[in-house]
Symmetry: C2
Subunit: 389 residues, 2 copies
Amino acid sequence: MNAFVYDIPTKVYFGENQLKNLGAELSKFGKKVLLTYGGGSIKKIGLYDKIIEEINKAGLELYELSGIDPNPRVSSVNAGADICKKENIDVLLAVGGGSVIDCTKYIGAAAYYDGDAWDILLKKVPVKKCLPIITVLTLSATGSEMDAGGVISNPETNDKIGLIFPVMQPKVSFLDPTLTYTVNKFHTACGAADILSHIFEVYFSMDQDLYMLDCVMEGLMKTVLKYTPVALAEPENYEARANLMWASSWAINGFINGGKRQAWSCHPMEHELSAFYDITHGLGLAILTPRWMEYTLNENTVSKFYQFGVNVFSIDESLPQMEVAKQSIDLLKEFFFETLGLQSTLTEIGINDANFNIMARKAATLGSTKYAFQPLAAEDIEKIFRMCL
Amino acid sequence: MNAFVYDIPTKVYFGENQLKNLGAELSKFGKKVLLTYGGGSIKKIGLYDKIIEEINKAGLELYELSGIDPNPRVSSVNAGADICKKENIDVLLAVGGGSVIDCTKYIGAAAYYDGDAWDILLKKVPVKKCLPIITVLTLSATGSEMDAGGVISNPETNDKIGLIFPVMQPKVSFLDPTLTYTVNKFHTACGAADILSHIFEVYFSMDQDLYMLDCVMEGLMKTVLKYTPVALAEPENYEARANLMWASSWAINGFINGGKRQAWSCHPMEHELSAFYDITHGLGLAILTPRWMEYTLNENTVSKFYQFGVNVFSIDESLPQMEVAKQSIDLLKEFFFETLGLQSTLTEIGINDANFNIMARKAATLGSTKYAFQPLAAEDIEKIFRMCL
């Protein structure tokens, strides 16, 4: 068991009608607010108006950057950083899902750098400062609202890179489950796959750390399995949306990691899919994950899958370990592809093997496979991509 | 489901050999450090010397307050506050278990008040400021290392009062499981009872909040049930001590509460036992809790006990609810009084019914029974005390 530092200083306002605290929280950091958001869905649901009202009430000065894409581009980061420098922005207000929040984190960092923000992703410059960030979350998925990481795409080079800098941790996040009522079935399902994948990336490890954290992870997984179907059937079910929203934060804020020095497996592979084909991150994860599990299941790893099957899917513990393991993967497939209704193969979403070789080589380099559940070389990753066809 | 604010800014260094960061963390707050501790066990285990070494290395100025008792007295709070005022202390360093940390929290608050610190406990003065507090934990029990609460006794009036002030939240806590290797069987067992009780006080509620948090609580309970016997049998089992230590923090740092407006039941009753008889808090909780459960189990509450029995003790879910509920209470008794070897009645520890009436009336006033799992009037509490004879 390894030592670790736990430090999650983000303050969270959870529940309905918490935006009344937004003005006071923003004001702690200054007067000039840069509001960042995506394609305008926040206007459709009336959230934009509410936020403007709170900003006006607090007497703050508003600047805006809209049009941040899913799989956010480095061009948006540069555009945001330019506004920050030109207008001397004091605080960033990211309103949206993980893409908007991730992009805003790098805007906050790039505001202190005079070159192209992509240099930050390439680790050419250190990130020691970041403008304070407040978020209003509208999608339960990435957990970006409560962690210090973010992923940015560069379409010019087909690159998608994720890094973590503690200074990018949001100061305050507003989590109102009712803001996710309008999230459609597809994105609700993709969000669930993303949450589960964040937990899998830590849970599937032969490096035994704290039993307590395994219990917590199993509880988070059961929460997603229980409530995603409810949210799909009843989009305005508060209980379901609330459980998914809080689970999304805790799946990746660092708590469940404890002292594990765990390298991630499916995320680096999926980042290549999204970088090359701009697909929704959670969909890519849902297609990849069961194949990755099948590929990594063996005599050395079976005990972890057995634990997963018994504790998360309540499979009969008296069955042979390998049988429980296989059943657990089948049940996960059933959940992703039947219960959530996600497409089950890359072929179905129009992806063929044309780029598998280069994608696999990039995934094996960018995503560190050292300390992984099962170390994966480029040829392993390519095989897993093929299993997804 | 209620709204809530999540805000747990304490940074935690978990694991062995983390004290090398102590000097740097203390230095963030100034030069003058008041070290607070109890009866000297930290000298026996060599911890005192290590701490002095780190303080000297960082070039800090050391002041000391020792002799803080279990069930810490308001006299220690006043003594500490006097040192802070006289010496212009910058930062408090509490080294010990919950008693030392609780006491230090009120020292930090009383440093800004010119009267008797008991006025703070009587809520005669508001607490808006507190000196920064860093803790080094030596006992897994109260969770005081990661929350903003503390309990102080006043032997002159037989009062024991617990309050919460956000400004008293420790800035940094060092959690090294090896520092609990020397905790004897009795205090290890009492600590486990305290951790479990913190979870019970939130878990046993008919106010359904987030399912996810119930899962987390069940995971924490299973952790304590699994690892306390290991720690008793092998006091230097790192895995056991680490799981108990991290569980102790998460049982009461506020995370598991979510939006529940849950009043506590057993703690107010136990505080009267400790106030009148100065017994170890966890022992009082172990004796009281199963009787409180028996008293509150009825047709309205049985579903919660059923959930507890099935999910925590793995009792056969096909059995009738009431049977599962009763079995779960019996299994908890078995855990406290056989597995942990704690005394099972008040009679055994020399407490008779002489003060039950006054204690019950005080518990019903001081501990708010509004929002409780089952509201308890003074006569109910007296009956529960009698069940413990």
